[in-house]
Amino acid sequence: MKGISILRRYLGIFIRLFKFRLSNQMIYRASFWTVFIVDVSMFLIQLAVFSTLFLNVDTINGWNKYQMIFFVGTFNIIDSINMSLFFFGITSIPYKIREGKLDIYLTRPVNTLFWLSLENIDVSSTIVIIPGVIMVSYATAKLGITLTFGKVAGYLLLLILMLLLFYSLMLIIRTLSFWFIKTDALNDLEGEMIGFSFRVPGIVFTGVSKLVLYVLLPYALLATLPTQYFTTSFSLGHWALALGVTSAFVLISQWLWRLGLKNYTSASS
């Protein structure tokens, strides 16, 4: 019963944060549209990269053009949800740590991380989910995949798991700001990993590289696993990998966050 009331309270806070951001974004319309343009540009560049590759090859390690379209569509769905919900909130954490602005968040009677993650919801990014869904639907039709409840539910479950993993990976990097003043290079490094993992499907990795990019720095799992589930075979081992890696990274990120808070010295106040 207590759990339900907490859930309702946080849902209420989320709705208020959403409404506040929406009205805020409507005031700064230029900002609203630039974020939208950025997302569309990312999507178009992604399409351009794969179209260029498929001008020169027929398959990428067994994946045909339509599987790659599905992969790009899945990437766009994950990325647009990430950009809409927590990207701008999480990326502002190092600044707040560095400038001592975390104090105000720590004094609020709400989970600090919840507030920080969701206070910068970006409504304009949600629009990019549409081309992502269109691409996934188009590829599904071209691949002749029969839709069943299990298939769709499994795909949605994997999307949620990959979003949790994405969130945890982003948070881990930002928590390092508790110990290091400047983490610009880490942000660049993350951008590089995300960029390439969304452009290079995980199926091209083998041996040690697969171990690194599937388990230690699991960026390669993000769009690959949902695509593999929907378009090829997906074993119990794959499920164990998705659940195991996501759980491990969620736990690590939460542990690092708590450890970081203990180290927080409130720089400028």
């Binding site: 700064y28 230029a30 900002s31 630039t34 974020v35 343009i37 950025v38 540009s41 990312m42 560049i45 351009a48 990269v49 260029t52 590759l53 001008l55 020169n56 090859v57 990428i60 390690n61 701008f88 290091f180 003043i181 400047k182 983490t183 610009d184 290079a185 880490l186 660049d188 490094l189 590089e192 990993m193 960029g195 390439f196 993992s197 452009r199 290079v200 091209v204 990795f205 083998t206 590289s209």
Partner: protein
């Protein structure tokens, strides 16, 4: 000029404070090259040549691109500069006898100089790892031309980043613009894919824009490809630098009137 050299010196010194950041940055070339290695190894399974390049040439292409990209250090400065405008700290440029553009350019070049040492070491390690696959420079002449064009490309990128930062006078939040700039340049400069894979007509159009010469042409010249395009490239880059420099000065003088000194 001396005051700007001092700005550059201060920029080099300030980098020493952020050793962790510099150390992590050294891994950047490794990541880009390793990921490219796995992608292209797969794509070359049943092919010997793509876009006029063999697999070792393709790998070398990405190593050279990673080297050039790592030397571009004005990216982080955009956030700092925009923050100064937003939070009223830009006033310091208005009271000092320095041009914000000169300050921006020399701070970027100072950072580049500092990172050069580490980038050379990091890329040297990458070359050692892939020494069986790495294709050395085709000739001293093409290497010099490649370095010259890459340097001009660096200046163009600094100017583009400065222009992006200036938008903070008008839009306050420039996150979107900066990300857009990065995404577009990444693709058009050939950092993601060699531009030789694109259709010929598209390459023809791209030759009149500076992006083509930022990474794609220098990397191609290192491989001994497209040497006939080098002098045209130099000309195009010089023209673009003049145009962008003029645009930067023009926009600065227009936009600074919008500065409200909030929080200063």
């Amino acid at each position: 000029m001396r005051k700007y050299l001092e700005v550059g010196k201060i920029s080099v010194k300030s980098q020493i404070t952020y050793r962790f950041d510099v150390l992590i940055g050294c891994f950047m070339p490794f990541i880009r090259v390793f990921l490219a290695y796995f992608l292209w190894r797969t794509l070359f399974t049943d092919k010997t040549e793509m876009g006029g390049m063999t697999f070792p040439m393709m790998l070398t292409y990405y190593i050279v691109c990673a080297f050039i990209q790592r030397l571009e250090q004005s990216n982080g400065l955009v956030w700092e500069f925009a923050g100064e405008i937003r939070e009223g700290r830009f006033t310091k440029y208005l009271v000092k006898p320095v041009s914000p553009l000169g300050h921006f350019v020399f701070t970027s070049l100072g950072k580049t100089l500092y990172h050069l040492v580490f980038t050379v070491l990091a890329v040297g390690c990458v070359i050692l790892i892939f020494k069986g696959q790495f294709v050395g420079p085709a000739s001293a002449g093409s290497l010099i031309l490649a370095l010259l064009i890459a340097f001009l490309g660096l200046l163009v990128m600094i100017l583009l980043n400065y222009l992006t930062a200036l938008l903070a006078f008008k839009f306050t939040d420039i996150t979107g613009w900066h990300l857009l700039n990065g995404n577009v340049v990444d693709f058009l400069s050939g950092a993601l894919l060699p531009l030789s894979l694109l259709p010929d007509w598209m390459q023809g159009v791209m030759r009149y824009f500076p992006f083509y010469y930022m990474q794609f042409l220098p990397a191609s010249l290192c491989l001994g490809l497209r040497t006939q395009e080098a002098f045209f490239g130099l000309l195009v880059m010089v023209i673009w630098i003049i145009v962008l420099w003029g645009l930067a000065e023009f926009l600065y003088h227009r936009f600074r009137r919008l500065y409200e000194e909030v929080g200063a």
